[in-house]
Symmetry: C2
Subunit: 138 residues, 2 copies
DNA sequence: TACAACCTGATAGTTACTCTCAGTCAAGTG
DNA sequence: CACTTGACTGAGAGTAACTATCAGGTTGTA
């Protein structure tokens, strides 16, 4: 059993956010002790994990709540939940592609500046070196 | 030369967002024609491209503005800009790692549900099949 | 007795859009 | 010449998902 602080550390989510998620109904099975303090079980951590996963892929909280509710509803919703996972995976793969493309842009920029720096140093004695530099290049 | 609409289509950014970015000072060199209409050059598209890239990696608009201003300032800021690109790349790579981890979570869930469905179908004639299903599994 | 750690609720602030008006201008078409 | 289209402007509200701050409350430990 873990306190909210321990969960925050373990799962790398702020306590604030965990409470916010709890209030949003994302952790319906977290028990409280006699002092009303949340006691996260290992299974509860699984819920945190999946919420974190869905969020980090950009799933809206409304949609997460829907998924959570399906989980609560039980077996009859398994195939629906399965489909959500598949869709989410698809989305994640698209994000991966997007990220790769942006990394290519950054690689290009890196080289662009590398060359700029190299030429700048080489030609710094040359009064004509300005010619090689573009005006306000991005 | 492109109108804002053409840029929006070409770069897959909404006109709204382009105007918002323009107002934020992200495209300092976009010319206007005699009717005050923005005329994006090919070089301006490069600015759109880099802004889009920085944004999609999570760079804040404030930081983007800073980068843009360094670009405007010219040669003296090249190494500083180079460093920003390197840092951004680092951030992007971290995001890639994070995404991979979350994909692993999703893969696990996919299998989890796949098995659940398989067993469910197999045992559907069996009154004991409930035993195999966890209560409110995520 | 102070403190740290948990709780609650309310409220305000943040970022980056996103959308909706409302009104203006200019070009092209029937 | 009216009309539609597409561009522009500014103002202002709405949105998501936190994030932070405050106030007030309980409990267990040093």
């Amino acid at each position: 059993m873990y306190t909210i602080k321990e969960v925050a550390e373990k799962m790398e989510v702020s306590e604030h956010t965990l409470r916010f998620w709890a209030k949003s109904g994302f952790f319906p099975f977290v028990k409280r002790n006699e002092n009303n303090i949340r006691q996260f079980s290992d299974n509860d951590l699984e819920w945190v994990r999946i919420v974190k996963c869905l969020r980090s892929v950009g799933t809206e909280n409304k949609a997460i709540k829907k998924y959570i509710d399906l989980c609560i509803k039980g077996d009859s919703t398994i195939s629906e939940r399965y489909q959500i996972i598949l869709d989410t995976k698809e989305k994640a793969l698209q994000q991966m592609e997007e990220l790769k493309q942006q990394l290519a842009v950054l690689d290009y920029k890196e080289n662009f500046y590398k060359n700029l720096i190299k030429n700048n140093l080489q030609d710094s004695w040359n009064p004509m070196n300005k010619i090689n530099l573009q005006d306000a290049a991005v």
